[in-house]
C-alpha cells in the first residue's frame, strides 16, 4: 500500500506515531530525562552483608490473635555515642498455643561502620515482653539515649548506663498496667527540660476473642471486636521517677484504637503537640497549652478523618514540611482499600487533606501501609516519602488477588509538591516482597544519604543502602543543655540559596518506631548553608552563618557548632 494513497486522517495519525517513536527512542538514548520520568533515587540491598540475622517472631501458633498482626516497630539511634547510628529491633514472644525452644527477645545491633552490624553481648537491652512499639530519648539527661518499649502487657524503660549496658527502670508507673501498647513517643510537654512519655494503647486485648472466619478461612479479627482504651501520659519528675498524668493532662478523656504517634509543634507556638494515628476510628491531635495539658482538636483542625469524613485504618505517621512553607505537614499510612493521607498544614491550627491534589496516596490503595518516613532521599532539598507495606492476613493470597501478605515497599518522590511513585525505578530491593511493619530512615554509613531498614514480620529485616546520585547535604546532631539533652522538640531552620527548610527533632515516629534524631537536610547544588537557626525547645534560639555542606555538625546548646571533617561525596 502506497502511503500517499492513504486517507488524510490516517496519514496524520501515522505521522504522529512516527514523531512519537522518534521522541520516545531519542529520550531513551538521552537517558529519559526529557520524559520527566526518571529519578535519581537508588537503593541497594545489603540485608545479607549487613550481618544482621535478627528474625522477627510474632509469637503466632495459628490461633490468629490480632496482636500478632500488628507487631512491631524498630528504632535507630547512637546508643554508644560513637557517631554511628545503631539499630534496635522489637520482637514478640510466644503467645498461647505457641512453643518456642528459645524465647524471642528484642535485639540491639551495633553499627561497626561500612554497613556491618554486630550484636553486642551483655547490653541487657533484650526485653522479653511481647514488644509492639519503641521510642528513644534521654529521659535522665545523662547524654545517653534510653529506650522505652510498649508491650502487650507491661511496658519497660531501659536506662542507658553509658557503658554499653542498660538497666531496667523499676518505676512501676512506666509499665502502664497491662494494656496492649501502640506507638510510644517522648516529648517535653511542660517545658521543664525533662522528657515525658506518651503511649498510645491499641486495644483492650483479650485472648478469648476468637479469630474471624472469612471465605471459610481463619483471619485476624479487627480492632472493632475489642474495647478501646485511653492512652497514657507519663510526666517526668526530673528525679528519675514518673507520675501517671493521663487524667490531669486531659489525655484520659479519649479512647480510640491507638497506633503510630508523632509529636510536633503543629501550630508553631513553641510547645509540642501530639498526633495519634488511630486504627478504624478518628485520629487525635492534642494541642498542648504549654503546661502539659492537652485538648484534642483533630476534628476542627481537619486531621481526624480523610477528606470525606471517613475514619481510616491509620497505622503510622510522620511529619515534615513537604511544600516549603516552613509548616510541618502530616503524612499517615492506612489500611487496604484506603489511601495513605497527606494533611497539609495551612497555619492557624488548620490542616487540609491534600492527598488528591498532591498524589501522595497514589498506588497505596490495595496495600496495608505501616511504617513511613518523610525524608529527603535524593538530597534535592524536598521531602520524599517511604512507605513500608505488608498485609495483616498471612493467608491473604487465598483471599484477594490484588494484594498479598508480602508486598513491596514504596518510594514517593516529591516533585515540587506533587508525589510520584518511583518504587519500580529505585532498585531491585524495592521488588522484595515481605510483610513489613516498622522502619527507620537514618544515615547509617555517614555518607550524607539517608538509608532505610525495615522490620519484616516473621522474617529478617530488609537493609537498604542509599546509593542515589550524590548531591550536597548537611546534618545536625543537637544536644540540649537547658533544653532536654536529646533536644526533642527543637527545630532547625536552614536557608541555602533561595530555599529554606525546617526540621524538628522527634522521639517516636513512623509506625511505633523511632529514627532521625540526627537531622538531615538535602541541599541540592548548594555548597554552603547561609543561615542556620536553631529553635531550642523552651529556650532562646541560636543562629549560625555560612556552614559548609557535606558535614555532620554537633550543635550543643549555647555553643558554636562543631563540625565533622567534610565527607567526600562519592561519585
Amino acid at each position: 500500500m502506497q502511503y500517499s494513497r492513504l486517507p488524510v486522517a490516517t496519514r496524520i495519525v501515522l505521522r504522529l506515531v512516527a514523531i512519537c517513536c522518534v521522541v520516545f527512542w531519542g529520550c531513551r538514548f538521552l537517558g529519559n530525562d526529557c520524559l520527566g520520568q526518571d529519578t535519581t533515587i537508588r537503593f541497594e540491598d545489603l540485608s545479607q552483608s549487613s550481618q544482621i540475622d535478627f528474625i522477627h517472631d510474632n509469637g503466632s501458633s495459628g490461633r490468629h490473635y490480632l496482636i500478632e498482626a500488628v507487631a512491631a516497630g524498630m528504632a535507630s539511634f547512637d546508643y554508644d555515642n560513637d557517631g554511628d547510628i545503631d539499630l534496635y529491633f522489637v520482637n514478640g514472644a510466644a503467645l498461647p498455643g505457641a512453643a518456642r525452644s528459645r524465647p524471642p527477645t528484642n535485639q540491639l545491633w551495633r553499627n561497626q561502620g561500612q554497613f556491618k552490624f554486630e550484636k553486642p553481648s551483655g547490653t541487657y537491652s533484650e526485653d522479653r515482653g511481647y514488644g509492639l512499639g519503641v521510642t528513644v530519648g534521654d529521659v535522665d539527661n545523662d547524654g545517653f539515649a534510653d529506650i522505652y518499649l510498649s508491650n502487650l502487657n507491661q511496658n519497660e524503660l531501659l536506662l542507658n548506663n553509658g557503658d554499653g549496658t542498660f538497666t531496667k527502670s523499676v518505676d512501676e508507673t512506666l509499665a502502664c498496667g497491662d494494656r496492649a501498647g501502640g506507638g510510644p513517643c517522648m516529648l517535653d510537654a511542660d517545658g521543664d527540660g525533662n522528657l515525658d512519655i506518651y503511649v498510645a494503647n491499641y486495644v483492650d486485648f483479650n485472648f478469648d476473642i476468637q479469630a474471624t472466619k472469612f471465605r471459610g478461612r481463619t483471619v485476624y479479627g479487627g480492632p472493632l471486636l475489642y474495647d478501646k482504651l485511653p492512652d497514657n501520659f507519663l510526666l517526668n519528675q526530673g528525679d528519675g521517677t514518673f507520675v501517671d498524668y493521663s487524667q490531669a493532662s486531659g489525655i484520659d478523656e479519649n479512647r480510640e484504637w491507638g497506633m503510630g504517634v508523632v509529636c510536633f509543634d503543629f501550630d508553631a507556638d513553641g510547645d509540642t503537640d501530639i498526633f495519634v494515628a488511630n486504627d478504624s476510628t478518628r485520629n487525635l491531635l492534642y494541642e498542648n497549652d504549654g503546661s502539659g495539658s492537652f485538648f484534642d482538636i483533630a476534628l476542627l483542625a481537619g486531621v481526624a478523618y480523610d477528606h470525606r469524613g471517613d475514619p481510616q485504618g491509620s497505622m503510622g505517621a510522620d511529619v515534615a514540611d513537604y511544600d516549603g512553607d516552613l509548616r510541618l505537614d502530616v503524612f499517615q499510612t492506612a489500611y487496604t482499600k484506603q489511601l495513605a493521607t497527606l494533611y497539609r498544614n495551612l497555619g492557624d491550627a488548620v490542616l487540609e487533606d491534600a492527598t488528591l491534589r498532591t498524589g501522595a496516596g497514589k498506588g497505596t490503595f490495595y496495600y496495608v501501609n505501616w511504617g513511613t518516613g518523610f525524608i529527603d532521599l535524593d538530597n534535592d532539598g524536598d521531602k520524599d516519602l517511604f512507605i513500608a507495606n505488608g498485609h495483616i492476613h498471612d493467608n491473604m493470597d487465598d483471599l484477594d488477588d490484588t494484594v498479598s501478605y508480602r508486598l513491596p515497599n514504596q518510594v514517593m518522590q516529591n516533585e515540587d509538591g506533587r508525589f510520584r511513585d518511583v518504587s519500580e525505578q529505585v532498585g531491585d530491593v524495592f521488588q522484595i516482597e515481605a510483610s513489613s511493619r516498622g522502619c527507620i530512615l537514618d544515615d547509617l554509613d555517614n555518607d550524607g544519604r539517608v538509608d532505610i531498614v525495615v522490620l519484616n514480620s516473621l522474617a529478617k529485616p530488609t537493609v537498604m543502602r542509599n546509593t542515589s546520585k550524590p548531591q550536597n547535604w548537611i546534618q545536625f546532631q543537637l544536644a540540649g543543655t537547658s533544653s532536654n539533652r536529646e533536644a526533642v522538640g527543637s527545630q532547625v531552620i536552614i536557608t541555602a540559596g533561595d530555599k529554606s527548610q525546617i526540621l524538628e527533632v522527634h522521639s517516636g515516629r513512623g509506625y511505633q518506631s523511632h529514627f532521625g534524631s540526627r537531622l538531615h537536610f538535602g541541599l541540592g547544588s548548594a555548597k554552603t548553608v547561609e543561615k542556620v537557626e536553631v529553635r531550642w525547645h523552651g529556650a532562646q534560639p541560636q543562629v549560625f552563618s555560612d556552614l559548609a555542606a557535606n558535614r555532620i555538625y554537633t550543635l550543643i546548646q549555647g555553643q558554636p557548632p562543631e563540625s565533622s571533617a567534610e565527607v567526600e561525596i562519592q561519585k
Binding site: G216, G222, L300, Y305, R308, V350, L356, Y366, L399, T402
Partner: protein, 392 residues
C-alpha cells in the same frame, strides 16, 4: 343375674361411644363448614418447595456455598461461552470476593466480545479507579458516557476519578451537568462540594453541602464537608456546630460498624455471594429465553438469602410471563406478607387470584387495597372488579 348385669353395662358403653362419635362427626362438619375455603390447601408454596437440581444443605459452610457459586458459573460458561454477559457475571462474583485481578480479566473478555458492553466497561473503570489509575478510569468513563449517555452511575465515577486525579475543576463541570437532570442526587451534590473544597471555592462548597443536608439530614459526608467549608471561611461557630453534629453521626456509624463486625458471619457473606451469582445467572437465562431455569435460579437465591424484594418481584414477573400463575401468586402472597401496606402488591396479588379463578381471595385483596388507598383511581377500578366477581 351377673350375666345380665354384664350385658347391660356393655350396651351402655357402646351407646356412649356411639354418642361421642356422633358429636365428633358433628364438630367436624361444623369445622368444615366454618373453615376458610382454600382450594389449594395441599399445595406447598413454590418458595418453600424443593428446588429442582439444587443440592443445598441449610448448614452448608461458607466454602461449600462459594463452591455452589463456582459450579453455577462453570455451567454458565459452558452453556454460553460467547455471551459477554457470562463474563460480566463471573467478574461480578470475582469483584465481590475481592479477586479484582480476575474480575478485570473477565470484564476485559466481555469487552473483547462486545466492545460496547457498558457494564463490563464500568467494571473496568471501577478497577482502574481502585488501582489509582485515575486517568484510565476517566478515559473509560468517557467512553461509556458516549455509548450510554444516561447511565447515572458514570458521571459520579468520572467526577470522583477527576477529583482523585487532581482535576477538581473538570470534576465540578461533570457534576454540574449531571445535577441539571439528577437534582436530588445527594452523592453528586456532595462530590461537587468536595470539588469546590479542592478548588478553594468555599462558599460554593458550603452551599452544596447545605443542599445535601436538606436532602439527607443525616449525611455524614455533607456535615463533615460543611464544617470544613465553614472552617475555611473563618466561620468557627458554624464550623464547630456542624463538626459537633458530624461527630454524633460519625459515632453512630462507628458503633454500627463495630456491632456489624462483632456479628459478622462468614456463612452469611458467602450466601450473599452465591445468591448474587444465581440472580445474575438467572438474568442470562432469561435473556436467552430459558425462563424456567431463570426462575429456578432466583428461587435458589431466595433460599440462600431470603426476602430480597427486587429478586422476588422479578421472580413473580417471570412466573407470570411463563404462565405459571399459581407460582406467581405464591410469590405475590410472600411479597404482600413482607409489606402488607403496599398497594401495588395487593392489587397485583388480587389480579393474579382473579386470573386463577380464586374469586374470594381476589375480593379479599381488592378490599384490602381499597382500605389502604380508597381514593386511588386503581381502587375505583377494583370496586368494579369486586362487583363483577360477586356477580359471577
Amino acid at each position: 343375674m351377673e350375666q345380665l348385669t354384664e350385658n347391660s353395662s356393655s350396651r351402655v358403653q357402646i351407646a356412649i361411644i356411639g354418642a361421642l362419635l356422633l358429636v365428633a362427626v358433628g364438630l367436624l362438619g361444623v369445622w368444615l363448614y366454618l373453615r376458610p375455603v382454600d382450594t389449594n390447601v395441599d399445595r406447598i408454596s413454590v418458595l418453600d418447595a424443593p428446588i429442582d437440581g439444587f443440592d443445598y444443605q441449610p448448614d452448608a459452610s461458607a466454602a461449600e456455598l462459594l463452591k455452589l457459586a463456582d459450579v453455577t458459573l462453570d455451567d454458565l460458561s459452558s452453556r454460553f461461552p460467547d455471551v459477554p454477559q457470562t463474563f460480566n457475571v463471573i467478574a461480578n462474583r470475582d469483584f465481590l470476593v475481592s479477586d479484582t485481578g480476575a474480575a478485570k480479566s473477565n470484564w476485559t473478555k466481555a469487552v473483547e466480545l462486545e466492545p460496547s458492553n457498558t457494564e463490563a466497561l464500568f467494571g473496568l473503570a471501577n478497577v482502574a479507579f481502585e488501582d489509582t489509575r485515575y486517568e484510565d478510569a476517566i478515559g473509560i468513563c468517557e467512553t461509556i458516557d458516549r455509548l450510554a449517555p444516561n447511565n447515572p452511575k458514570v458521571p459520579l465515577l468520572l467526577a470522583d476519578a477527576l477529583l482523585h486525579a487532581g482535576k477538581a475543576d473538570e470534576a465540578a463541570l461533570v457534576l454540574e451537568q449531571h445535577l441539571a437532570t439528577e437534582q436530588g442526587s445527594v452523592q453528586a451534590i456532595e462530590l461537587l462540594g468536595n470539588a469546590h473544597l479542592q478548588t478553594k471555592s468555599y462558599e460554593k462548597a458550603a452551599q452544596c453541602f447545605q443542599r445535601a443536608i436538606d436532602f439527607a439530614p443525616k449525611s455524614k459526608d455533607a456535615h463533615y464537608g460543611l464544617a470544613q467549608a465553614f472552617a475555611r471561611l473563618g466561620d468557627r461557630d458554624n464550623a464547630k456546630r456542624f463538626m459537633e453534629r458530624f461527630k454524633n453521626i460519625a459515632k453512630e456509624i462507628g458503633d454500627e460498624h463495630a456491632e456489624e463486625a462483632k456479628a459478622f458471619e462468614d456463612r452469611n457473606y458467602a450466601a450473599h455471594v452465591a445468591a448474587q451469582v444465581y440472580v445474575d445467572s438467572a438474568n442470562i437465562f432469561r435473556a436467552q429465553g430459558d425462563i424456567a431455569t431463570a426462575c429456578n435460579y432466583i428461587l435458589r437465591a431466595h433460599r440462600l438469602q431470603p426476602d430480597v424484594e427486587p429478586w422476588l418481584t422479578e421472580l413473580q414477573r417471570m412466573f407470570f410471563s411463563n404462565g405459571q400463575l399459581d407460582e406467581a401468586a405464591d410469590v405475590g402472597e410472600h411479597l404482600v406478607g413482607l409489606a402488607p401496606q403496599d398497594l401495588e402488591r395487593r392489587l397485583n396479588l388480587a389480579s393474579l387470584y382473579a386470573d386463577l379463578g380464586r374469586a374470594d381471595d381476589a375480593i379479599e385483596n381488592y378490599e384490602a387495597a381499597i382500605e389502604l388507598a380508597p381514593d386511588d383511581p386503581r381502587c375505583q377500578q377494583a370496586k368494579q372488579i369486586i362487583n363483577q366477581l360477586n356477580a359471577s
